[in-house]
Symmetry: C2
Subunit: 257 residues, 2 copies
């Protein structure tokens, strides 16, 4: 397959770090083949040594770890455009699993291709690197949520984050977006019980901030939700809309003072 399916990725990377036409073309030909998965199955499992990176084209996945006592921690959610295991071509052994929450389509990029591309196109390397660094920034923010925010704040914060993530790749409409994530999964992501998630959602509904219905989340009061979750999008490192894109293919990148 060639690049028709990687547009979401291009769009996202481009938003992070503008690439030249040649660089975009390289990326579009990087995907060797496509795979489909049912909902609720593993794409990659802890301990695996994958030979490809996965680019999510459709559906929602989560990154998680299972503890010896059966508890689960979900560490991130992913949507179209995410290379959710970019790290696998550098770290070799997976220290966690990736599972689907809905039926999913992914494109495969062989590790060998990743190696070639990142050696020959430092800008692409830096764009993908940047993407993994933003993932890390999101991990840190989640850590902060779980460690120091109340349940109410945590859930509000998660809603804000996923709204912006989905908006970036065009999956939102007004303030409405798909929400296939169950309450138990929210709990496993935020370190709380499914029961408590349920009660907290009721509160958020009661405050008129959100409506969660038919697997879709409606944000009724964006400002209110942001405040409820102490949400500051800085950690997502989205390029502010008013910042001019760096000349594509240019050789330098200077932080604006």
């Amino acid at each position: 397959m060639s690049g028709t399916h990687s547009n979401t990725l291009i769009r996202k990377l481009h938003a992070l770090f503008p690439l030249s036409a040649e660089e975009v073309a390289v990326l579009e030909h990087a995907c060797s083949r496509m795979r489909e998965f049912a909902g609720d199955v593993d794409i990659v499992t802890e301990g695996d040594r994958p030979s490809d990176c996965n680019l999510l084209l459709q559906g929602i996945t989560c990154r998680y770890k299972l503890l010896p006592d059966g508890k689960r921690q979900i560490m991130s959610f992913h949507c179209a455009g995410d290379i959710f295991d970019a790290q696998s071509f550098i770290l070799e052994v997976m220290d966690h699993s990736i599972g689907t929450l809905t039926p999913c389509k992914v494109a495969l990029i062989p590790h060998r291709t990743m190696l070639d591309i990142t050696e020959r196109y430092p800008h692409i390397a830096r764009a993908v690197w940047k993407d993994t660094l933003i993932d890390a920034a999101i991990f840190r923010e989640w850590m902060t949520s779980i460690g120091r925010r109340s349940s109410y704040q945590r859930i509000a914060h998660l809603f804000c984050e996923l709204y912006l993530k989905m908006k970036t790749v065009g999956l939102t409409e007004d303030h409405i977006f798909p929400w296939p994530i169950t309450q138990t999964e929210i709990g496993d992501a935020l370190g709380m019980s499914n029961i408590h998630v349920n009660r907290t959602l009721k509160e958020l509904r009661g405050e008129g901030l959100i409506v969660l219905k038919d697997r879709r989340l409606i944000i009724k009061d964006w400002e209110g939700l942001k405040e409820a979750g102490q949400f500051d999008p800085a950690y997502l490192h989205l390029r502010p809309a008013d910042e001019p894109a760096r000349a594509a293919g240019g050789g330098e990148r200077i932080a604006p003072q």
Copy 2:
């Protein structure tokens, strides 16, 4: 300054991803100058746009975020050999702060140098990238600890992790290593109150697992501590001692099957 002080870094990177003599030489000349800090001050502050990366030569630092309501989340601890803000040359704006816990010495690597090096030496880029990916893996593990492990497990887990981190750069002796971290700081790292940290430490002491005295941690029962913390070092991605180092400077890297 030239490379005499960057040996710890070289040692660490080398352990992650063997480099050629030329590559090592490049790294040794990357540091432009050195700075010293007192204990309990910020090296980098949230919102900054640093122009250099910091390589920690001596002392202990932490990565943290302050919340609007005054709560603090510590997201990592760092010791000699850590480039604790490698991300800053790609992400530009700091989304968190770095503070010293003890007096510290750091070497500065200008972002411009980082850009040059990572463009011209893809192996170095990959080594530093790998380092940032391991940081991310540690974030994920902390998230798991905070979200799903009991206080007792969390503290045991933290002790195990820092022991191995320090051991890698030669800061341990038998099972003893410096512990300048206060109970309040442990609490801010693990999402618990200083009082509860105190009580949990008492428990760990009572079980004969550790002794914390004179700012030094003594692990009395390594196997017991690992078990108490459900500690599995896989997420640190340390190269197993028996795995032969890749030929330095070689052009490929193939995951052993």
